[in-house]
């Protein structure tokens, strides 16, 4: 069956149809910060953004209520927050969609995380290919294409005044079946999409070498000099982890007002000394150990657990770092362990 297409000016009409069933989110700069914001019914323009927006927050919010508790005649009543409903994320980039697929493993392993997984299960992801990757992007080194994705339900490719629509999952097929105002893609549209995909792919010029990365990292795990050098300019601000689409670490805390309270969880970062601090000791009080943990967890320990590198090459940690710390430089300059006697 031929792919569909939609005129860019009709996107709002399409979203309007879906908004009856879903809470629709689109990339927005309204608040001054690029976010996935609740769609306000206006036209959606996508040309302004690469992947500044981080859709992770739709599934793992920076802060969320886990439950409320109330003391009532010497006993506690525990109440879960209401279900947030089904989300439709329009305009997710292939790198960010892959990131969700990567961290799913953590939230599914051994125990099901009810908050994250219920949002994931009910959500629809509509990808829009990235035709203008940034200089800091290196997704292709992680096996990701800026314009193609198997981690979304529908995949859109910019072909000028229109988007070509590919159905990726059954969920996506159903959405298309219910939608009106779509055209049939012609051969010329398909050719144009193919050209756009190739051009976009080749625009990603930054590379990392992932071959044997786990072994190479483990080999230099104890090389304190190397890690101290790498960590020297880091200011432990945590931005590279908080805005990383595959960073999922969180903290759990209570808030109390009179006889009522809330337990909430919030994003946390291995860049902060307090992250591992126990009252009597801290295994990672030194900065170089924390930087090592960040690098080794993403490219070593996470792959050892889940067979996937916890990085999508989205480049945010490079673009947003206040001191120009560059993960690709670190990974491309790992010390090579020379064998004795060689």
């Amino acid at each position: 069956m031929a792919n569909k297409k939609i005129s860019k000016k009709d996107i709002a009409k399409l979203l309007n149809q879906w908004s009856r069933e879903f809470a629709v989110f689109v990339p927005s700069k309204e608040s001054g910060i690029a976010t996935m914001a609740r769609w306000d019914g206006k036209d959606v323009t996508l040309d302004w953004y690469r992947n500044t927006v981080i859709p992770k927050a739709n599934f793992l919010p920076a802060m969320e209520e886990m439950f409320r508790f109330q003391k009532d005649k010497e006993s506690y009543n525990i109440e879960l927050p209401p279900d947030g409903g089904k989300q439709l994320i329009f305009g997710i980039r292939p790198c960010d969609a892959r990131a969700l697929a990567i961290i799913d493993a953590n939230f599914k392993n051994l125990y099901q995380d009810p908050y994250y997984l219920s949002r994931r299960d009910s959500a629809v992801l509509i990808g829009v290919g990235c035709i203008n990757p940034s200089e800091s992007c290196f997704c292709t080194s992680l096996g990701i294409s800026p314009t193609e994705s198997k981690d979304v339900d529908l995949m859109l490719t910019d072909i000028g005044d229109q988007f070509l629509i590919e159905e990726v999952t059954d969920k996506g097929k159903k959405l298309i079946a219910k939608a009106s105002g779509l055209g049939e893609a012609t051969k010329e549209d398909e050719t144009r999409a193919k050209e756009m995909k190739e051009t976009s792919y080749n625009k990603v010029t930054r590379k990392i070498n992932t071959e044997g990365i786990v072994e190479r990292l483990i080999a230099c795990f104890d090389d304190q000099d190397f890690w101290e050098k790498i960590a020297a300019k880091c200011i432990s601000c945590g931005i590279c982890t908080l805005l990383c689409p595959t960073c999922y670490c969180f903290d759990i805390n209570d808030e109390l007002t009179k006889q009522q309270g809330t337990r909430f969880r919030s994003l946390d970062s291995c860049a902060f000394p307090v992250y591992t601090k126990m009252p009597m000791e801290n295994p990672r009080a030194e900065k170089w150990k924390r930087v090592r943990q960040k690098v080794c967890h993403k490219y070593g320990f996470f792959p050892m657990s889940f067979n996937a590198i916890a990085c999508t090459g989205c480049g945010r940690c490079i673009r947003l770092c206040p001191v120009n710390w560059d993960i690709t430089q670190v990974l491309n300059n790992l010390p090579v362990k020379t064998e004795v006697g060689k």
Binding site: Y76, L110, D222, R265, Y275, M280, P283, M304
Partner: protein, 289 residues
């Protein structure tokens, strides 16, 4: 290592792994000026009956409005009329736990983590090496072993604390020293006028006692500094890294391998531990523990 053979806790509240059960504090024993043991039971009588755990497993305990913290279950699964955990007053949650009285209600999630490998320990001489509140997880196993004495060989217990006033579980120490199948050695770093036992840090006393490594396993728990100095002594005595077991403590918030902070190397202490053989953790002990 990470493809865990741990089965998830069966005792979830409302099918949500983060929701605590309500438990009631039934008894409090002040062990030392800053350590207390709390005896508790589930408010839900059905759960109280059905609940099971293994020595070495831990729980996440909440003081509502203050927060949650992990502690091992310090009582033995062979003695199930109530559960126990021991708490040193060091931080926010532990301070709150020290303010509670009998009858107070707290939250409990668990049991989490793996447990001491009873099959492996069976038929062996067991050497327990503990320091301070580190005896808490060991005593669950010690009572477990004593209650199934025919499955194990000789028991050595080397336990120490900074001063006589810092010794925990004195009622257990008394009971074990009267037990003919147990060789109980108690030591303190600094004695006082009335102290008649041994004086010296635990690794040093362990070297003096010199238990044989033949058909034996050593189970070590205490402050990190004690653990770090104990492994070399055990090695000197002929114990292999596989024969040395310990239980680690980290800042475990979720208790179920998700929140990330107890990750050392490719291990998540809460998910893959807290019980490890020295063989499993020795490459990270130098710099991360």
């Amino acid at each position: 290592m990470t493809t865990t053979n741990i089965s998830p806790s069966k005792f979830l509240a409302q099918d949500n792994v983060y929701l605590p059960h309500i438990v009631v504090i039934e008894k409090i024993i002040e062990e030392t000026p800053n350590i207390r043991t709390l005896h508790f039971n589930f408010k839900d009588k059905k759960l109280q009956k059905e609940f099971s755990f293994e020595s070495g497993q831990f729980g996440e305990y909440s003081v509502f409005g203050i927060g949650e913290a992990p502690f091992c279950i310090s009582s033995s699964p062979t003695r199930r009329d109530h559960l126990e955990f021991a708490v040193q007053r060091v931080g926010r949650v532990t301070n709150a736990l020290h303010r509670l009285g009998v009858g107070a209600e707290i939250g409990f999630r668990g049991p989490y983590g793996n447990s001491f490998p009873l099959d492996y320990l069976g038929g062996k001489n067991l050497v327990f090496v503990g320091g301070g509140i580190g005896l808490a997880p060991l005593r669950s196993l010690i009572w477990n072993v004593i209650d199934n004495k025919d499955k194990y060989k000789n028991i050595d217990i080397i336990y120490g604390a900074r001063t006589p006033a810092d010794l925990c579980f004195k009622y257990d120490l008394d009971s074990w020293s009267k037990n003919k199948t147990v060789n109980m050695v108690t030591t303190v770093d600094r004695g006082d006028e009335s102290w008649t036992g041994k004086t010296g840090v635990v690794p040093k006393i362990l070297e003096e006692v010199a238990p044989s490594a033949k058909n034996a396993a050593a189970i070590v728990c205490g402050p990190p500094i004690m653990i770090r100095f104990t492994f070399p002594v055990l090695t000197k005595l002929g114990f292999t890294p596989e024969q040395m077991l310990t239980t680690l403590e980290k800042r475990m918030k979720c208790g179920i391998g998700k929140c990330g902070r107890c990750n050392i190397g490719n291990i998540f202490v809460c998910r893959d531990g807290p019980v490890f053989s020295y063989a499993q953790i020795k490459s990270f002990v130098s710099s991360e523990y």
